[in-house]
Symmetry: C2
Subunit: 287 residues, 2 copies
DNA sequence: TGCCTTCGTGCAAATTATTTTCTTTGATCG
DNA sequence: CGATCAAAGAAAATAATTTGCACGAAGGCA
């Protein structure tokens, strides 16, 4: 549990003085994290004991414990209390995007459902053929990434972002195959259709999507990804990065599961690349 | 600059006692970050003043400054001093991948070259036509992501991962266009050829690649991405995530640059999606 | 209205943590 | 074999933090 979360919970119940301290935390974080209790108290126009009590209230043992906690979660928590830091300077935009991406990873990690990941890995590793589906730019990237990762381990896999093809492929799939579909919104009706068809044909399906969504409902196994979307329409969603990480987790685990096969295939791919290129050995897995 | 980096630099020059303190930092980080100077000194079998001196040596003002710095970078720095946490448990693999991804983002941020980013953005925003090139799975993803992002802002863009097509497109391009190429290794010979051809035709080129590489040398503008690659061949490189973030930074900045156009186009795309889908307004930018 | 309770707060004292200063130790070198 | 210097600890000084206590304001209840 991080302080910023606690702070938000307690927010309403804080007294006037405590609110002044909270404001400083939120507005001048840099100051707060470096200040001594006396400086912080001074800036908030309260006495040091009030600061101590404030820290206790937030679940810390002492002021220094508080500072450590603060510094630790700062990195993560900073942004999701504050509104956008509206600047269009290169450096600020860069910082903002990177922070958001890290945040997305943090939130992903926090909400990962290991059980469903294991089920999914099991299915994928055992499948005779893997179909990866996704559309709309973001999910189609995920689908082709799935192909890009999994073929390296010697698995049979194809990806498609074309709805009609997806339906046809679903119709052609067998119960020993698996169908993986990604949908950021969880409301890709065509994917639901493909999943439904698969269900009729007893082909297992795995959804990478929001839980409690139509896509999730239609799938055999759902690996839930529930992240808040940013609201700046110019900004590409950092959710993509979380999906990509999830995909890395899945494919690493699959790789371990099918290891002997994976080693051989990877070696062959590597050899191919090395002779094809300039003989430099570092070029392992494609450009 | 973070402490772990400094610690690595100073490592050799530390005295015996100081080394004991360093060991505790690395091995029992949790303890170190919560301990008082006395506890830490006790555990390292040194006197408190020695700890103070150690902190100063690492560039901190005081012990408490040190603790804050420590707590701040902890999250990030933790892993890159330690060897791999070799476990194949789902939870550990997940944690490892997420940490690596966050690390990659951290390192990217630290090494970003803002000047070249600005130059690149300038060019892209002003271009009449944008060609995005990349091959080999990873870079081809980057190329198609570029297309996926930029078309939304009303820019004319096409992506290709096909070497022959890339050459032909380069031949067809004009000096008012721009050619963006991605190469993780920096040693994609075909991309170099396309860039060289473009140079002859006075078509500006932007490389997203390692600095001091053939691809970088062939480009008009290089946006360098210099990250250490992991060495676990099963693990998809977290570098992809850094590239994706860089791409987000570039495209956000481009969006700001071409704003009026972007707003209109985005609105049209959104409208299209909303009527096409189930009327839910939240589905902004593709699935 | 007036009293009582409760809560929030600051003051001052006590405690604890940290830093400084001074001193010792042990190693290196002429 | 001293002279010198760096490293490290002891003790003192300082600074930071916490605790105990008391005061005052707000709100409830007779």
């Amino acid at each position: 549990m991080d302080i910023f979360a606690t702070l938000q919970e307690e927010k309403g119940r804080l007294s006037q003085s405590e609110n002044r301290i909270a404001d400083i935390l939120l507005n001048d974080f840099e100051f707060a994290v470096n200040a001594s209790i006396i400086e912080l108290a001074g800036k908030a126009d309260v006495s040091p004991p009030t600061v101590t009590r404030f820290c206790r209230r937030l679940g810390c043992d002492s002021f220094s414990d508080f500072k450590v906690q603060l510094a630790r979660t700062a990195y993560i928590g900073m942004r999701y209390l504050k509104p956008e830091p509206k600047s269009r300077e290169t450096g600020d935009v860069a910082q903002d995007i990177i922070t958001k991406a890290q945040n997305a990873l943090f939130l992903l990690h926090r909400s990962l459902d290991l059980a469903s990941i294991e089920q999914a890995v099991e299915r994928i590793a055992a499948a005779e053929m893997i179909y990866a589906f996704g559309s709309g730019g973001n999910s189609s990237m995920i689908a082709s990434e799935l192909q890009n990762r999994l073929f390296r381990y010697g698995l049979r896999v194809t990806a498609s972002s074309d709805h009609s093809m997806q339906l046809m492929m679903a119709a052609a799939a067998r119960p020993t195959d698996v169908l993986i579909g990604s949908s950021f919104s969880g409301r890709n009706a065509e994917l639901v259709r493909a999943f439904t068809l698969a269900r009729e044909l007893k082909v297992p399906t795995i959804a990478l999507t929001q839980s409690n969504s139509p896509v999730a409902a239609a799938a055999t196994i759902t690996v839930p990804v529930d992240l808040p979307e940013g609201n700046n329409i110019y900004r590409p969603t950092s959710t993509r990065i979380a999906y990509l990480a999830l995909l890395d987790i899945l494919s690493s685990l699959v790789a371990y599961r099918v290891q002997p096969q994976a080693t051989v295939t990877l070696r062959r791919i590597k050899q191919q690349l090395v002779t094809h290129r300039d003989g430099d050995d570092r070029q392992l897995l494609g450009d």
